[in-house]
């Protein structure tokens, strides 16, 4: 939805689908909750700093309270000890919400194939976007953000998309 306001008189009314209007609003008002645990969190700091500047894409209001956020960025290794905390944070976020898994460890455990490391956060919470890399460059994270925004703009939000998801910690 691109509108050149300069050519339109001020009283103009626009007709659009409600879906489109909401998607357009959501796209540029993502509030990320950064769940940074390890090296990837340092690269997130780079993404937030002036050179890469995540605020260019309307997602710089980093909230550390899950209740005020709608985009969970899991940046770093999640261990079995950390897992119940991550799940609790995810559960505390209200709908609509999205999850970006940043880095090899969050996606699959990375090269930590051992007794303490969760083999990917998608064993406990549903994930919308995976960003590879160890750690991913800030551009990769921005790319994930942009593709999420594109998705919000072009598709109707589907709150039931993870309805059938069942994580390892969901039994208890």
């Amino acid at each position: 939805m691109e509108i050149n306001t300069q050519t339109l008189p001020l009283e103009t009314a626009i007709t659009t689908r409600l879906d489109d209007a909401i998607g357009w609003a959501r796209e540029s008002s993502l509030w990320p909750m950064i769940f940074g645990t390890a090296c990837c969190a340092i690269e997130f700091m780079s993404a937030a700093a002036s050179k890469y500047d995540i605020s260019r894409f309307g997602a710089e209001v980093v909230r550390f309270s899950p209740r005020q956020a709608d985009l969970l960025i899991v940046a770093g290794t999640i261990t079995y000890k950390q897992a119940p905390i991550l799940k609790q944070i995810y559960d505390q976020m209200s709908e609509p919400k999205w999850v970006i898994s940043m880095g090899a460890c969050a996606c699959s455990g990375g090269f930590y194939d051992n007794y303490s490391t969760m083999q990917g956060i998608d064993e406990i919470i549903p994930v919308d976007l995976y960003v590879g890399g160890c750690p991913p460059r800030p551009e990769a994270l921005l790319d994930a953000l942009l593709s999420l925004q594109k998705d919000l703009r072009t598709h109707t939000y589907n709150p039931d998309r993870h309805k059938d998801f069942k994580g390892l910690l969901d039994d208890v």
Binding site: T37, P84, I85, S116, P135
Partner: protein, 549 residues
């Protein structure tokens, strides 16, 4: 070269450590255990404990070993306060009980974990789910009782003794917890009456992973210990392996390592300072300090191919020499670092808010810092001039002119200013290295240690075989046990390696500076304001990756 051990019987260990303490070995570096059950040569017993202690002159360290008949031994927490968490770690990882320990419970693994993962019998990939977080209430109650904040009534319940306590979790997911540290505090108003810290949320099994990777394959794992200054971990690790092999690097390689160690120090201090100033509300400084860090990233990715996790070092040298034009790029980066530091200092140096928030806040005196085994800038801020670059020089550090920056009080202000000072000293060292950078090779020439040139691999059968054998079997390190360390950004970073003569280490233990710094943290913040506790944590520069390993 292998370390010399003093071997003692478990019964006499406590008394002789006390004697050593009285002789001046007042600084506990590390406690670890070795499980010999799969070691090729038979040992006296299946488990041994290793204590590493350092003399107060800081110039020598000794290793004490004791073979355990039973998995029990007397604690040494009454001699060294820093032993508290170290013994808990040995208990957690090996299941060795320390009698009369004040708080013997798991530290790295979660409380629902069954078994002891660093035992050789524990399968490396056997993960165990944790369903809930430890509430830490019993630990907190003991802490409150020991500080007389609460009294136990005759009925067995607790009374708050005229205080109105509120309990609060700081972390593990908290903007100021710098990763994954949890501190559970009892507050009376804004004052922290008692605190207990829980770590291990980033325990990703580094030491177990080392036991099934060859020596060079471990280099990428070391990157992710202190990920703010990856190269210094690379160097600390390969330096230990090289000393076990008994090799000396070419002068050029040594000089490049010194230069990169100092560049890492700048890189690390910059991010620590940026973060601690953000915790104070000074966001502007973050931009000034973080931009030069980006420039260092640019330089390092040009040199090593990666921004953050460089994996630049190899046993016997490094992946490649400096590129053409490196020196100009480096000069440019140093200029930008200096600009960032100057701008930041101009904002805070005479800033009343900064002074009021940091001076006499989060104080730890020299005696306590030593007893808690603190190291690096945190120890120097308390006025102890311990710097391995001066006390036990390596890689020719004795040839460079630089000062050791020390503080006087040991508060947040000192810890911040020591780091600012060290950035300047590191710049001095880098300039001296680059002025006299020796010519020559950066790798030693030994077919059993370093890979052949690609040209030889592609064109000769000897080259292919050499490459294959070295990659497949790994560098063979003579059997033995060895501890070595260097002055990394957070202080003495040591590796204790047990080799069985194969290409894969039998055991690797990291002596991590952040681990002991964190163990002192609850004591530092008790009695201070909650907001000051946040600053104190930032100024200690706890890096979860190396603390939890």
């Amino acid at each position: 070269m292998m370390s010399k051990f003093i071997t003692l019987l478990p019964e006499e260990l406590h008394a002789s450590l006390q004697n050593k303490y009285n002789e001046g070995f007042i600084y506990l570096l590390d406690i670890t255990a070795v499980d010999y059950s799969e070691y090729p040569q038979a040992k006296e017993e299946a488990y041994a404990l290793v204590y590493i202690i350092r003399h107060k002159s800081f110039q020598e360290h000794i290793l004490i070993k004791t073979y355990l008949h039973t998995l029990e031994i007397e604690t040494v927490t009454d001699i060294f306060k820093g032993a508290n968490w170290l013994e808990r770690e040995v208990y957690d990882q090996y299941g060795i009980t320390f009698l009369h320990h004040p708080n013997l419970r798991r530290i790295l693994n979660h409380h629902q974990f069954v078994g002891h993962p660093l035992r050789k019998s524990y399968p490396i990939t056997k993960g165990q789910l944790s369903y809930e977080v430890d509430d830490l209430i019993d630990e907190m109650n003991n802490r409150l009782l020991s500080k007389n904040v609460v009294c136990r009534l005759e009925s067995g319940s607790f009374s708050e003794c005229n205080k109105d306590l509120m309990f609060l979790n700081l972390g593990p997911s908290h903007p100021a917890s710098h990763g994954t540290i949890r501190t559970y505090v009892a507050l009376d108003g804004e004052t922290v009456e008692a605190a207990v810290s829980e770590i291990g949320y980033l325990h990703r099994g580094f030491e177990k992973s080392c036991e099934n990777h060859s020596y060079n394959q471990i280099v990428p794992y070391t990157d992710r210990l202190n990920y703010c200054s990856a190269i210094s971990n690379n160097i600390a690790y390969v330096k230990t392996v090289e000393e076990m092999l008994g090799i000396t690097l070419p002068l050029r390689a040594q000089a490049i390592r010194v230069m990169l160690l100092e560049l890492s120090r700048i890189e690390d201090h910059v991010v620590c300072l940026a973060a601690v100033l953000v915790d104070m509300g000074g966001l502007t400084n973050y931009w000034y300090m973080y931009n030069p860090r980006e420039d260092i990233y640019e330089l390092l990715s040009k040199l090593t191919g990666a921004r953050l996790t460089n994996s630049y070092m190899r046993v016997g040298g490094m992946t490649n020499d400096l590129y053409e034009g490196f020196e100009e790029d480096l000069k440019d980066v140093i200029k930008k670092v200096q600009y960032g530091v100057e701008e930041t200092l101009s904002l805070i140096k005479h800033n009343r808010i900064f002074h009021d928030r940091t001076q006499n806040v989060g104080v730890i005196n020299a005696q306590d810092a030593l007893n808690a085994s603190m190291t690096g800038p945190n120890l120097r801020a308390s006025g102890v001039p311990f710097d391995m670059r001066k006390d036990t020089p390596y890689y020719g550090y004795e040839n460079y002119t630089f000062d050791v920056i020390v503080g006087s009080v040991g508060d947040v202000y000192d810890r911040v200013m020591v780091r600012f000072g060290e950035i300047q000293e590191s710049i001095k060292i880098i300039e001296q290295v680059m002025q006299n950078l020796p010519e020559g090779e950066v790798n030693i020439k030994d077919a059993a240690i370093t890979l052949p040139h690609k040209e030889a691999v592609y064109n000769t059968i000897e080259g292919v075989m050499n490459h294959f054998k070295l990659t497949y079997e790994g560098v063979k390190v003579p059997a033995g046990e060895y501890y070595s360390s260097l002055e990394a950004t957070n202080g003495e970073l040591g590796f204790f390696i047990v080799s069985d003569g194969s290409g894969i280490p039998y055991k690797v233990k990291v002596k991590a500076p952040s681990f002991t710094a964190m163990s002192a943290y609850p004591d530092i913040i008790e009695g201070s304001q909650l907001a000051d506790a946040i600053l104190t944590l930032g100024s200690l520069n706890i890096i979860a990756g190396e603390m939890d390993r």
